[in-house]
């Protein structure tokens, strides 16, 4: 059974930044909510509060970066990618400045409703020249992000996770920039997942395999650049096609990026993109929303049945069994509580 890690970014930031005097943290009134409070309290001379004024904060970050500092912006993803988009494009992305944008509450990971749910951030960030886009799928990747981002010359947008985060991947196997994780191979179907959807995909893929469907599974954490050849190789080998599942709109994210590559490379496989189907969401719990909008294991199994054109007889009880292998009941309860009491 997997481990649940409490606030992995908070402790990792403290440890990682301790001896890097050129690293600054900029906050916009969501410092504890973005797990930067420990850094603020321990390194007050390197923490700068900008209040609820993101356009200006991004400009200050640009100026600091031009002078050789590495500003790490900490706020919610919507307030990095949506509200100050022009500032991000012109002050930071155009000059290719090493500003690191650590965005929290990706997609449906918040009950805060439509204003807090970043469902278009990957699309917006992918469209910006010079921008690199990374997404954390578990605690190990949360802990890998600072090293991964710091190694990149230009601006980096990170879809970061907070609070109670499951560890799906061994801590000695950190995120590798530009490389998908191959979690299993098969020649019937290819499942490509990212972010929190990977945990759902793990139980769905296990259920599919139990029914004899040879399924390959890849987890993506580098969304731009998007050029790992193994993604296309696995899909080319999957006779029924591929399914992407992402905590984002199906327009402009993982599914879109893959569709572009498949078309350009002339790989004629069907592709079902799971994600928000060109809709906004609303305030509710993460499991509820993932079911409502079809971002969960059940939706993935249905998509597989569509591609195979056969019923596999996998019901909720079967999926629950496979999910239990990934995560225990007590952990589900802990997470449910954490989701309800999160700091918005």
């Amino acid at each position: 059974m997997i481990e649940l890690v409490t606030r992995p970014h908070r402790s990792n930031l403290l440890r990682w930044a301790a001896k890097r005097s050129e690293v600054l943290v900029l906050g916009a009134d969501l410092t504890a909510s973005c797990e930067a409070d420990g850094f603020r309290d321990q390194f007050p001379e390197r923490f700068f509060s900008f209040g609820m004024a993101e356009q200006n904060m991004l400009g200050f970050a640009a100026g600091l970066a031009r002078e050789g500092f590495f500003p790490y912006i900490h706020t919610f993803s919507v307030f990095i990618t949506r509200r100050p988009f022009d500032q991000l494009a012109m002050s930071i992305a155009y000059p290719n400045l090493p500003v690191r944008l650590i965005g929290f509450l990706p997609g449906l990971t918040t009950p805060g409703g439509v204003t807090h749910q970043a469902i278009d951030d990957i699309a917006l960030m992918r469209a910006l020249p010079n921008m690199t886009v990374l997404e954390a799928g578990d605690a190990t990747e949360v802990e890998s992000m600072l090293d991964a981002a710091q190694a990149i010359e230009g601006p980096v947008y990170v879809r970061q996770l907070r609070g109670e985060v499951p560890r799906l991947f061994p801590s000695e196997q950190p995120l590798r920039f530009g490389r998908a994780r191959l979690l299993g191979s098969g020649t019937d179907l290819a499942v490509i997942s990212a972010g929190i959807c990977t945990e759902e995909a793990l139980s769905a893929v296990a259920a599919l395999r139990s029914r004899g469907v040879a399924t390959s599974h890849l987890h993506v954490s580098t969304l731009k650049p998007f050029d790992d050849p193994r993604l296309l190789e696995q899909i080319a080998n999957a006779r029924y096609g591929a399914i992407t599942i992402e905590n984002h709109s199906i327009i402009g994210g993982l599914g879109s990026a893959l569709a572009e590559q498949l078309a350009e490379q002339g790989i004629g496989r069907r592709l079902i993109r799971l994600g928000l189907r060109d809709t906004y969401a609303h305030g509710a719990s993460k499991p509820y929303l993932m079911r409502e909008y079809g971002l969960d294991a059940r939706a993935l199994v249905h998509a597989a049945e569509t591609l195979i054109d056969a019923s596999l007889g996998i019901d909720d009880a079967v999926l629950a069994e496979h999910a239990a292998a990934v995560r225990g009941a007590a952990q589900r309860e802990t997470l449910a509580k954490a989701d309800k009491t999160e700091d918005l």
Partner: protein, 319 residues
């Protein structure tokens, strides 16, 4: 070289250019000539230009794969801890800045021949690769925040050089400008000064009709800035607030979240000089176009002749 002679040279060059191209940002030259000349001659501590007299061609947009990308900051001298930095915000004034750099000998006299030509850095609306520019500010109201970041970085490194920002009054309609002033005051950033060309004009016409920003001085004071309102064509009045600060020692600050002084001393505030200016100063003929002065394009051969005539007699006027 005096502010007056440089300012007259700016107007003449921009007029000449406007005639040659049947279009130009002439009113901006009229309003800003003395402000920019004063900044470069009397206020800022800049080293000699490190950039070529003949502007380089465009070297591509900045990117990880383009080490050749450049900025135009070298025209304002080298980067050094004790030297000032100039950040040019309303880049629609680019033609005026180029004319100034020519007058100062930082750009060659033929540099304007490359203005708005394909493949040139001497762009119509300047960007960071354009001579005299350091940031890409064409989406107005973004440069002040960037200058604030530069000033904060210089303070963190203990540099004595300051950061000067030239702004237009129209940029005070953007919310980001006020966010920036709030942050400058909150973080006690006193190594930054702003000169505003308050010419009361914008693209749609008179600012009072489009969206008023007055009372600008009171607003800025309420945001924590040290504000001076001066005649923007009077070099002495323009330079005085900056010179008054020059010899003041900036006291050591401990600017952290937990230890902020609620009433920062004057030196810990941004300096603002509101330069009240006339968009037709030096070229009275322009008054016939009021209130639409943002961009001059001649409406008739007669009008063009009148401006040609003005340029021909420029020497008589200037002397």
């Amino acid at each position: 070289m005096t502010v007056q002679s440089v300012a007259a040279g700016i107007r003449r060059r921009v007029l000449e250019h406007t005639l040659r191209n049947n279009g130009g940002y002439l009113s901006q030259a009229c309003s800003a000539a003395e402000i920019l000349a004063t900044l470069f001659l009397r206020v800022m501590q800049l080293g000699p230009s490190t950039a070529p007299l003949i502007p380089r061609p465009f070297a591509g947009v900045p990117s990880q794969n383009n080490p050749a990308a450049l900025t135009g900051a070298g025209y304002n001298g080298p980067r050094a801890p004790d030297l000032d930095r100039f950040i040019f915000s309303p880049v629609h004034y680019a033609l005026v800045l180029y004319a100034l750099l020519i007058e100062l000998g930082r750009l060659g006299p033929d540099a304007l021949e490359r203005f708005n030509t394909d493949g040139s850095t001497v762009e119509l609306i300047g960007a960071e690769h354009s001579p005299g520019h350091e940031v890409t500010a064409g989406s107005l109201g973004q440069a002040l925040s960037q200058a604030g970041g530069i000033a904060l970085a210089r303070r963190l490194r203990g540099e004595s050089g300051r950061v000067w920002v030239f702004m237009s009054d129209g940029e005070f309609q953007e919310g980001q400008t006020w966010e920036a002033f709030a942050a400058l005051a909150h973080h006690h950033i006193g190594n930054l000064g702003v000169y505003i060309d308050a010419n009361a004009q914008q693209c749609d016409g008179a600012m009072a009709d489009v969206m008023t920003i007055e009372p600008l001085a009171d607003r800025l004071r309420a945001f924590g800035a040290e504000v001076h309102e001066v005649d923007g064509h009077d070099a002495e009045a323009l330079a005085k607030p900056a010179l008054a600060r020059e010899n003041t020692v900036i006291r050591e600050r401990h600017d952290t979240a937990g230890q902020q002084d609620p009433t920062p001393a004057a030196i810990d505030r941004p300096l603002v000089v509101i330069a009240r200016t006339d968009t037709c100063r030096g070229i009275d003929l322009l008054r016939e176009r009021a209130p639409k002065l943002h961009y001059l394009r001649f409406k008739s051969p007669n009008e063009q002749d009148a401006y040609e005539d003005l340029l021909e007699h420029w020497q008589d006027l200037a002397s």
